[in-house]
Amino acid sequence: MKRFIIPSLIVIVLLAVGCTSTPDAEQDAAPVESRSGADGGGRIATVTAGGVDSRGLPPELTDSRSILSKRSIYFDYDRFDIKPEYRDLVAAHAKFLTENRQFRMLIQGNTDERGSREYNLALGQKRADAVKKQLVLLGAREEQVESVSLGEEKPKNPGQDEAAWAENRRGDLLYSGEF
């Protein structure tokens, strides 16, 4: 085996502002920025992306004593059905959406890290769709709820064992202002 160490040039044009990824975290607004560069050829223009505005939420959605502050539903390996222990949680959110039609919800489905990123995106979608279906059955309106997938891209636990993977097979519920 031969080995080359080659100095390389890596461009860092703009530093992204750090932020957390928890659903209720405040995030700095950082609109997408384009740097139009040279004409022709191989010159690459750098674009910076990310960040959304956030708005306040009613206390019942964030107060840790309220069931509505619980926003994650966990799934078994290769399963997409909502386990009995999460029925009350889903029902509470369905009730909130029914009583607060101005609110919208984004359900983000997630998977563990094993396997293809794109196939995992499809598996996460199945989990998010399962939660959405239950919410709509219980009174939420179809147009209030969007189900999307983050696949394996946003693990809650970066570990590489079953305990970590179990934390990552989940659906996260975000309300208007949190996404």
């Binding site: 690459i44 750098t46 910076t48 794109e118 196939y119 995106l121 969007e146």
Partner: protein, 465 residues
């Protein structure tokens, strides 16, 4: 810094009658070559290669180190000597080193150590002496100032036959010397193998620099000249090059859900191609660059659609309620390969756009995903799971024979070099993402890693025009 200086190519044969005669057949080398490297054409019109090529400049750079390692070897490597080029010492050394590095990393050549032996294209080599060093082929050249620029000239020789195989003169500049070296290596590779070289191509990949820092990089095929095309706090996955190499389609999570963008590399202009309700992912360009196959969940479940490259005219292709995703076009523009769980486990299927007929492609094992067809349409690369490990495999589409090409644990996201010869994948070593290029016969591997970062989602770009 902003001005781009094209590297111009002239047919060196027209300048000096040193070159091989038209129709020269380099069959001498074919005896040493595995069948896949059979020379296709003896001496192609150099005018074909003479199209001007624009290499690119570095932007205000921070320094990082890319480490390139390789292991294994192609069968029957061609022994070649690259003499130290003459002329301006620093420029010549830079070009010589790029040519040597490219040829050696390709796995096709075995470099004879001739450092310290200088030879320009203007001198007839003493063939017997070079032969004694064990080389079958020899390249000599020079880099000299001329007209405010630099001129790189070289000549390639068949040592046994004691004849010239051809050469070129390229106009270059101090910050384009690497590009000139890649062009010379491409010339040598094509002349001796009969296939186009990929040393002047580019790759795209994603670097995860932290929980909230993702960068989409474009680099030369040897990992040099990395530049960020996109910096985001949220993940970026599935970059794919447009057939003309000017744009990348990819999936960005910057708006808290997967959305497909098409990004022009020259000016950074981005177009949202698919931002429907639900998830938008897995873009794949049609061979003519006019359309993309994408996966959308807007109508429930993950289904494959065809959409125009400007985001208009989404048309559903897959039916049923199973997962259908990871579409990849065959070069005929009519056949799509994709992943589906319709049979109970994820397997690869193909379909025809005209008839809609669907065929199952994989049967062995319970997890076969991420199909990618070679540019010549002969091979399908994919990821297969066996004994808990995710490995790169290749299927010969004519015989349906499958060969597992790696022994690693977490291979992902294959893409072919434009000459069909290598497959670029993401894999993991010591918990860190690295890129690996594996020859289609599995004999030869290159690994590209960035010490501080987690690298994933590679895509090998097309030939540069």
């Amino acid at each position: 810094m902003n001005s781009l200086i094209p590297v111009e190519f002239r047919n060196y044969l027209s300048l000096q009658p040193l070159g091989a005669p038209e129709g020269y057949n380099s069959s001498f080398f074919s005896g040493n070559l595995p069948p896949m490297f059979r020379p296709l054409l003896s001496l192609r019109g150099l005018g074909l290669i003479a199209s001007s090529v624009v290499a690119f400049l570095c932007l205000s750079p921070a320094r990082a180190e890319l480490t390139f390692e390789f292991s294994g070897a192609g069968a029957n490597q061609i022994p070649i000597a690259i003499a130290d080029f003459g002329g301006d010492f620093g420029s010549a050394r830079a070009v010589t080193s790029v040519v040597r590095g490219d040829l050696e990393r390709s796995g096709v050549f075995r470099l004879t150590d001739v450092s310290g032996l200088s030879l320009t294209e203007a001198t007839n080599p003493a063939f017997e002496e070079w032969k004694n060093l064990g080389a079958d082929a020899l390249a000599a050249g020079s880099v000299r100032p001329g007209g405010g620029r630099l001129e790189a000239r070289f000549q390639l020789y068949d040592i046994a036959r004691q004849t010239a195989l051809g050469g070129e003169a390229l106009t270059t500049s101090p910050n384009m010397l690497r590009a000139a070296g890649h062009r010379i290596a491409d010339f040598i590779y094509e002349k001796l193998t009969g296939e186009r070289g990929v040393f002047s191509t580019r790759i795209a990949y994603v670097v995860k620099g932290g929980a909230t820092r993702y960068e989409l990089h474009i680099a030369d095929a040897d990992g040099q000249n990395a530049q960020a095309a996109l910096i985001s706090r949220e993940p970026i996955i599935s970059p794919v090059w447009s057939p003309d190499g000017s744009r990348l389609a990819y999936v960005s999570f910057e708006d808290k859900k997967p959305i497909i963008y098409v990004h022009s590399l020259v000016n950074g202009r981005r177009v949202v191609v698919a931002n429907f309700k639900g998830s938008n992912s897995a873009p794949a360009w049609s061979p003519d660059g006019s359309k993309l196959a994408v996966t959308l969940s807007k109508d429930g479940g993950s289904q494959i659609y065809l959409i125009n490259a400007d985001g208009s005219g989404a048309q559903r292709l897959s039916t049923g309620s199973s997962i259908n995703t990871e579409a990849s076009f065959a070069p005929d523009g009519q056949t799509l390969y994709f992943t589906s769980d319709r049979g109970g486990s994820p397997q690869i299927y193909s379909t025809r756009l005209d008839s809609g007929e669907v065929r199952r492609m994989t049967f062995e094992g319970s997890y076969n995903v991420s199909p990618r067809v070679s540019p010549d349409g002969r091979t399908m690369a994919f990821i297969t799971r066996s004994e808990g490990a995710f490995r790169l495999a290749a299927m010969d589409l004519a015989s349906r024979q499958i060969q597992v090409l790696s022994d690693s644990e977490k291979d992902e996201s294959p893409s072919f070099a434009p000459n069909n010869r290598m497959i670029l994948i993401a894999t993991e070593i010591g918990g860190r993402g690295v890129l690996s290029a594996v020859s289609v016969d599995g004999r030869f591997k290159q690994r590209l890693s960035i010490p501080a970062g987690d690298v994933r989602e590679p895509a090998w770009g097309p030939y540069r025009r």
